[in-house]
Subunit: 331 residues, 2 copies
């Protein structure tokens, strides 16, 4: 008998088809193609092929927009939103619109063209996390923005158009729907219980252990109770923290360890799948609060989304999270 | 400058990248592959290869589960939900779950293996609509269900696993999130205005004409103001009606004409793309109301969904709906 499970934060129900539990090897996918020899604008020596850098962690003495960097942040050459101008909020009969104002940046995670984020040293992954933080703290000063999303598309099936490992940042003049739903769900729970719902989930999960993949002093890797996708996974700080960019330096070291562990095991268990990674953190106008708990969400792209999902916002997941957790624990 | 637009019903913002307006020919896609000669359980003579039929419109004198049908409805051989049993709603600490109870049926739209829904005669498409209605009216009697979704996956990229033209029906013990959001948005507007928001949208759109694809006496084909996907399109009854299954016979004739017109033009303009089609109708427990307006949603599968979309529920659409409407009007 399949099971219907409700995500406690957003109220979304999913179908876990426990009958036809899918093992990692059942998800056949094209291996991610490499294009050796193709020109790459993110490699050393090609710095002039991107817009000028906004931030770079560099060896002493190297000049901007030349080799010598470990992490490099540049504006997206084909931005989804424009950085200059006013919001110009206005109506059009009963419709609402505004100008497409925002920032769209690319975080080049390493000079090494052939290494995935999972394959970087922990120290290098920590640099990437610091770059995320630095960019959020800088863009936060712009009062037009309401939310900053960091996300990563790894592999063509996940929407990556360049294979050199990178993440993206989009600063938005509104709080996106999905984040709003999470924050509202957390607020509702807080009103009822005066506790953070993620703190309660972490407590219950660390007790039950069945959906825990790994933990260290500061972070825990969990399979959500009602995941939309097979092997959908979260990384959360164990102690309440509402914003990613408020994390302390020691915690980033431990976050880097957990991120490397998760991505390496996913590469191993699911044979280098395409995946998306996003950071969900508090909206910019409510940075420190007791109800929202920032986290990473990682979604391997293993299944196809069809009419049922688009029509309902309802997902059919063939892999129970308890089994996904087991595979990732044992890897 | 890109434009941010808000869907008036759900409150979801989308980015319309007016700068890089994409013409239909820019969406390169693999032509849908045919597998001639492969065994098909939906063809005449293979009726025994599906579970026994629930409903069929047949020539006089032909026996169930034999050739002679025009439309045939059977249980899905690999159902996402089970039809037998109780809901068994229960908690698991702070989580909620219930048994995966529901109906999952397949509507085989025609005996002709090689014809798409768009290629069927209007009379045959009308039969398919009647089959949808008959199945909803029957399943409505089951008090365990809260919502019935009709959807169609056309083409492999849209999630279809068999090429013989068919739709699916899923009856659910809950109202799915996306429908709940639409219904709640409509209720909010009704509380404010005492009018149906879709009725107001139809009035404004028929006046402005820019997003209208076609209309007849009973129905209108519209590009939504804030579509998530290029060429996302709606078909709505012009006069307020809250449930699809309450439609009258004359209206189904006109609905069939509009559906054929839309799908034929999409096949022509976008060169036979994969697409998803869903019917959004009122939840079963609130069938007749003044706030919700049933409709079809059609989404061609032309763009790839990546981390940004999964992370935010926010969509970047490269084709303004005014241009999509123009292409479909002129086809």
């Amino acid at each position: 008998m399949p099971e219907l499970r409700k995500d406690p934060v957003t109220g979304r129900w999913v179908i876990i088809s426990t009958d036809r539990a899918r093992r990692p090897t059942d998800f056949a996918h094209e291996p991610e193609k490499k294009h050796p020899g193709a020109f790459c604008p993110f490699c050393y020596g090609n710095e002039a092929k991107t817009p000028p850098e906004i931030l770079a962690y560099r060896s002493n003495g190297t000049a901007p927009n030349t080799p010598g960097w470990a992490v490099r942040v540049v504006p997206n050459k084909f931005p989804a939103l424009g950085i200059e101008g006013d919001l110009g909020r206005q109506g059009e009969g009963l419709f609402d619109k505004m100008n497409g104002i925002g920032a769209h940046e690319v975080i080049i995670e390493s000079p090494d063209h052939d290494k995935s984020l999972a394959q970087l040293d922990e120290k290098r992954i920590e640099d990437v996390l610091w770059a995320f933080r630095d960019r959020i703290l800088d863009l936060k000063k712009d009062r037009r923005f309401r939310y900053i999303l960091i996300f990563k598309n790894h592999g063509e099936a996940a929407g990556a158009s360049l294979e050199h490992s990178h993440s993206q940042l989009i600063a938005l003049p509104i709080v996106p729907k999905r984040v709003r739903e999470e924050v509202d769900g957390c607020k509702q729970y807080y009103t009822l219980k005066e506790r953070c719902i993620y703190c309660d989930i972490i407590r219950q999960e660390l007790d039950a252990k069945t959906r825990v993949v790994a933990e260290n002093a500061d972070f825990v890797i969990l399979e959500p109770y009602a995941p939309r996708f097979p092997f959908e996974t979260m990384i959360l700080p164990k102690v309440h923290e509402s914003s990613f960019e408020e994390g302390q330096s020691k915690a980033y070291e431990n976050l880097s360890k957990m991120l490397k562990l998760l991505l390496s095991r996913v590469e191993k268990v699911l044979v280098a799948p395409a995946y998306n990674l996003v950071i969900h953190t508090s909206p910019l106008l409510e940075p420190s609060n007791d109800y929202y708990h920032w986290h990473f969400e990682m979604m391997p792209r293993l299944t196809r989304i069809a009419g049922f999902e688009w029509g309902t916002g309802f997902y059919i997941n063939p892999t129970p999270p308890e089994e996904a957790a087991q595979f990732l624990r044992d890897a």
